[in-house]
């Protein structure tokens, strides 16, 4: 039976980290339940990788507390070994040993994860098959394409069946088919209760996959659902469409309306107070003889909202 209120796998409060004089992360809070996906957004250097490394037990935080997979985040390397054993990491750069074969690379990491020797080969072969790499298993990783290395990186991260998975720009360099496979895999892992943090610049990916989104620019700028982020505030954009799409004779847009785009029969307008303005505009157009078939106030998209926050 699924626990309706599962304990969060990650519970972080006020995490901060500096590198010398530079503040890399500030006031980072997060609560992530099993089976949920967090989309981590932010420009380059916003602290996404630092946040993931802290939560994965690779870096210590200068301030703040965190409980990761039931283990308290500590300042010492030894104290965080249990956290590292519970997490899987797909780094931005796969970082494989290029002279070794894929199977040897995975055997090595399986060994470091403490997997029993007898179980290493079956597990490695299972993952190679799952990611479609069996035919090239004995080839040197140096001969692999970027997409293949990325798939191998995912296989490596899943070797020890982690309860939390950190994905740092996992679809960078993947073709559309491989990207779709990865999205399917994320869905599968979610079903199995794996919590995931997905750092990406592809906003559509976050919209499609994440339950929560966190926009970071050293400190969190927004935390909530991707849907709520997109429509958090009413927009000031109105879209109208009518047959033919030409302005009726004698009709002119009021001064409070700015035409943003006109393509075919569709007009996109920027309007102050659209709730009041839209009925008046519609009436004026209909009176002028336009056969309007669409009129809507548009909420800002996730992309627009993101750019607004970042700028």
């Amino acid at each position: 039976m699924v626990d309706p209120c599962p304990r969060p796998l990650i519970e972080a409060r006020g995490l901060c980290r500096r590198f010398g004089d530079r503040v890399a992360l500030q006031d980072f809070d997060l609560s992530l339940a099993p089976g949920s996906v967090l989309g981590l957004l932010g420009p380059n250097g916003a602290g996404k990788t630092t946040a993931m490394r802290i939560l994965a037990g690779l870096l210590a935080a200068d301030a703040g507390t965190a409980l990761v997979a039931g283990h308290e985040l500590r300042a010492s390397e030894a104290g965080n070994a249990a956290i590292r054993a519970s997490c899987g990491l797909v780094p931005e750069q796969p970082g494989f040993y290029e002279r070794l074969s894929a199977i040897d690379n995975l055997r090595f990491y399986a060994g470091l994860q403490g997997i029993d020797r007898a179980e290493i080969d079956p597990r490695v072969r299972e993952l190679l098959a799952r990611f479609g790499l069996t035919a090239r298993a004995e080839d040197r990783v140096g001969t692999y394409s970027k997409g293949m290395q990325q798939r191998l990186s995912l296989a490596r991260a899943l070797l020890h069946r982690p309860s939390i998975l950190f994905l740092d720009e996992p679809t960078a360099g993947l073709d559309p088919v491989a990207t779709a496979d990865l999205h399917a895999l994320i869905g599968e892992l979610r079903q199995q209760g794996c919590a995931m943090i997905l750092s990406t610049h592809v906003l559509e990916e976050v919209e499609a996959l994440a339950d929560q989104v966190l926009v970071l620019r050293t400190r969190p700028l927004y935390a909530g659902s991707p849907q709520a982020m997109g429509s958090a505030e009413p927009g000031n954009r109105v879209e109208l469409a009518w047959d033919g799409g030409e302005l009726p004779d004698g009709f002119a847009w009021p001064l409070t309306v700015t035409v943003k785009q006109h393509k075919g029969e569709v007009w996109q307008l920027q309007v102050e107070s659209p709730r009041q303005a839209l009925p008046q505009l519609l009436q004026a157009l209909l009176s002028a003889g336009a056969r309007v078939y669409r009129a809507e106030i548009q909420a800002p998209s996730l992309r627009e909202r993101y750019l607004e926050l970042i700028r």
């Binding site: 070994a81 796969p94 994860q113």
Partner: protein
């Protein structure tokens, strides 16, 4: 910790075996090493030449040492001269791990930094000691094995060669084996630790190897140049050198351990 250390060694050794750039180092130096005792023992008769001793005071001193050796052990002069030359060959084996380790060890950490393979390793539960000891042993063991193998084969070949040429059976003495089996691994260990430290501090593999070659090797050679001749004639000095090398190696490991800051390594790239 032991299991992770073994995995690190396994990976390092496998990687070294695949690295064709290292093959000449592992093949050439042991081959020269094998030839050294044979050539030195066969040419040892030259040490007994009175003409050379008459014009060169150093040769005269060596000839005197050889004569004292023969007298002390009741050996023929030829056997004493050959045994003396085998001690000199032992000096080569003493330095062989230094040369091999300097090439392989400089790359140990900085190479990983360059190919970005350190982050996934550090993301596993591995301890810093397991990582460093695994790398240290993977750098040291092949060099020591190559040295021991070359010295044993070189000794056997020189025994056979000398017997066939002179009809006298020679046997490398304690100094030869002490240099090969005790001093060589210790010097190799110290070099490996020095290389690991350089490799941790540097960002470029070539710079790490150059620093090792230009600073560390001459410093170690100087040390051996000062102690080397004394070690060949005095067991007490040999024991003292072994002790000093052991203490230096332990201190060097502690220093390397302190230098390896996971966060700094990740932060530099973060």
């Amino acid at each position: 910790m032991r299991s992770s250390m073994v995995w690190i060694m396994w990976r390092e050794l496998k990687d070294q075996a695949q690295n064709r750039m290292l093959w000449p180092v592992y093949l050439l130096l042991p081959l020269v090493g094998m030839a050294a005792p044979v050539l030195l023992s066969i040419s040892s008769a030259g040490l007994l030449s009175p003409k050379l001793a008459a014009v060169d005071p150093a040769s005269a001193a060596i000839m005197q040492s050889v004569k004292q050796m023969a007298l002390a052990y009741g050996w023929e002069l030829e056997r004493a001269a050959a045994t003396f030359m085998l001690r000199v060959a032992g000096g080569y084996f003493m330095l062989m791990p230094l040369a091999i380790v300097a090439v392989v060890g400089g790359y140990a950490i900085v190479g990983e930094k360059q190919q970005r393979s350190l982050e996934p390793v550090l993301a596993t539960p591995i301890s810093t000691d397991a990582l460093l000891l695994g790398k240290f042993l993977a750098v040291l063991l092949p060099a020591v094995c190559a040295t021991v193998l070359a010295s044993v084969l070189g000794a056997a070949a020189s025994m056979l060669g000398f017997y066939l040429l002179n009809g006298i059976l020679i046997w490398p003495d304690l100094y030869y084996w002490a240099a090969t089996l005790v001093l060589a691994p210790l010097i190799g260990a110290l070099t490996a630790l020095a290389c690991l430290h350089t490799s941790i501090r540097m960002q470029d593999p070539l710079a790490a190897i150059q620093i090792t070659a230009l600073i560390l090797i001459p410093a170690l050679l100087l040390l051996l140049g000062v102690f080397g001749p004394t070690m060949l004639i005095n067991l007490g000095v040999l024991g003292l050198v072994v002790l000093v090398l052991l203490i230096l190696s332990l201190c060097a490991y502690a220093y390397v351990r302190r230098s390896f800051n996971r966060e700094e390594i990740l932060g530099r790239r973060g």
